[in-house]
Subunit: 221 residues, 2 copies
Amino acid sequence: MSQMQNVERQLREMILGLEIGPGERLTERWIESRFGASRTPVRAALLRLETEGLIGRDGRGWTVAPINLAELAQIAVYREAVEVAAVRLTAAQDHRGGVDVIEAMLDSCDAATPREEWHRVGMDFHIELARLSGNEFLLRAVRDAMTRLSRARWLEVRDEAALGRAWAEHHAILAAVRAGDADEAARQLTAHIAGSRDRLVTSLHDERRSLRARGFAVVAA
Amino acid sequence: MSQMQNVERQLREMILGLEIGPGERLTERWIESRFGASRTPVRAALLRLETEGLIGRDGRGWTVAPINLAELAQIAVYREAVEVAAVRLTAAQDHRGGVDVIEAMLDSCDAATPREEWHRVGMDFHIELARLSGNEFLLRAVRDAMTRLSRARWLEVRDEAALGRAWAEHHAILAAVRAGDADEAARQLTAHIAGSRDRLVTSLHDERRSLRARGFAVVAA
DNA sequence: GATACCATTTTGGTATACCAAATCGGTATC
DNA sequence: GATACCGATTTGGTATACCAAAATGGTATC
C-alpha cells in the first residue's frame, strides 16, 4: 500500500474516531512527523479528505470539519432522496439473498456487542442496502453521507430504547423490501431517517456545551 | 490563483471540451510541460479530477474516463432521485424570483445562439434549479452528475426538434414550481430526465462506431 | 518470421529544498 | 495597561532530485 493511502486511511480513522477533534487545526508538518511520511503523500491524502468533507481549508491551512447541526439536517434530506431511490430499486428486484445477509448483520448485535460495533453496523446497514440497488452512484452517495454523519452519530447520546427502536425500524424496512413492497419500504425508510435526524440533532444540541468544553467545534443549526 | 487550481481548471476544460479524448492516457510529465507547472500541482489537480470521475487510474498511470453508456443510465437514476427531491423542496417554498432568473436564462437562447451556449445553459438549468432548494448536498450532487454527463451530451446528435422539446419541458417544470405544484413538477422532471437519457443513450449507441473511429473509448451498456 | 529475453527508457511514488506569505512574540510607544 | 509595529518563525505552495517498477524496443534465438 502506498504512503498516500496509508496516511489517508490513518488520518481518516483519527478524525472519525475523534482522536483529532472537530475544528482542530492540522499542519502538514505535524502529519508528516506523526505518520513518518513526507509531505507529498500527506498533501495527497489531505486533498482527498477535503473532497470527503472531513477536513476543510481555513484560509491557508487545514481544519478538521466542525460538527455542523444545519449540515446534519441537510444531509438527512439528501440521504432520504438517495436511500429511498435505492430501496425502491431493490424492492423491485429479487434480492432475498442480499436482504438475508443484511438481516444477519443486524442480528449479530446483542447486549454483549461493544458500542463501536453497533455504530459500525448501524451505518453498514444503510450502505449495504444501497449496494443491493446495483446503482454505483446511489451507493457512493449513501456511503458519503454516512461518512459525514459518522462522528455526529458517535457523539450522540443514545439510550437502549432508541437503539432498539432503530433496529426495529431496520427490520421493518427489510421486511418490506423482502415482500417487494416498494412504497412501504420507502415509507419506513423515510420515517426512520426523520427519526434518526431528530434524535441526532436534539441530542447534539443539548450536549453542545459539554462538546465544546471537550474542545469540539459545534456549529449551531 | 494557485498553480494547482490553474492546472485543474485547464485540464478539466480540455477533458470536457474533448480536446483530450475519452480513454486517452495522461502522463504527469506531459501535463507538466503542457501547462508549465511542476509535478506537485499537477498531481494535486489529477487527484481532484479523479474524485470528479473525469479521470481514473489504469494500473499505474492515468486515463481519461471513457464514455460509458451503462454509467450514463445509472446517472439518470441518480439524477432523478436528487433533482426530484430538490425541485419538491423548491416548489414548497416561495422562489418566484429565482424561477424568473432561470426562465430568463432559458429564453436567452435563440436561433442565433451557438451550440456551445445551448449546451451550457441546458446544464445550468438543472444546477440552478437545484440551487434554489437551498440544500448544499443536493446541489453538489446535481453539479457532479452534470459534469459527468457533460461530454456525452456534447457528443449527442441533437436535432432542432429534440432541443425544442427539451426547452418546452424545462418551461413546464418551471411553471409547476411557480405554481407550487410539487407533484406536477416532479412528474415533469422525471419524464424530462427519462427522455433525456433515452435520447442520449440511443444517440451515442448509434454513433459509437464513428466515435471510436475518432479515437474515443466508448464502453457499451 | 515469430517469440522470448534483456537493456534502456519512461513513469508514478516519494523525499526534500526553497520561497513568499501569514502568523506569532516581543518590544517600544502612547 | 493597551496597542502598534517589526523581526523571527512557521506554514502551505512549488520545484526538483531520486528510486523502483513498469513499459518499451531491439536483438538473439528458434
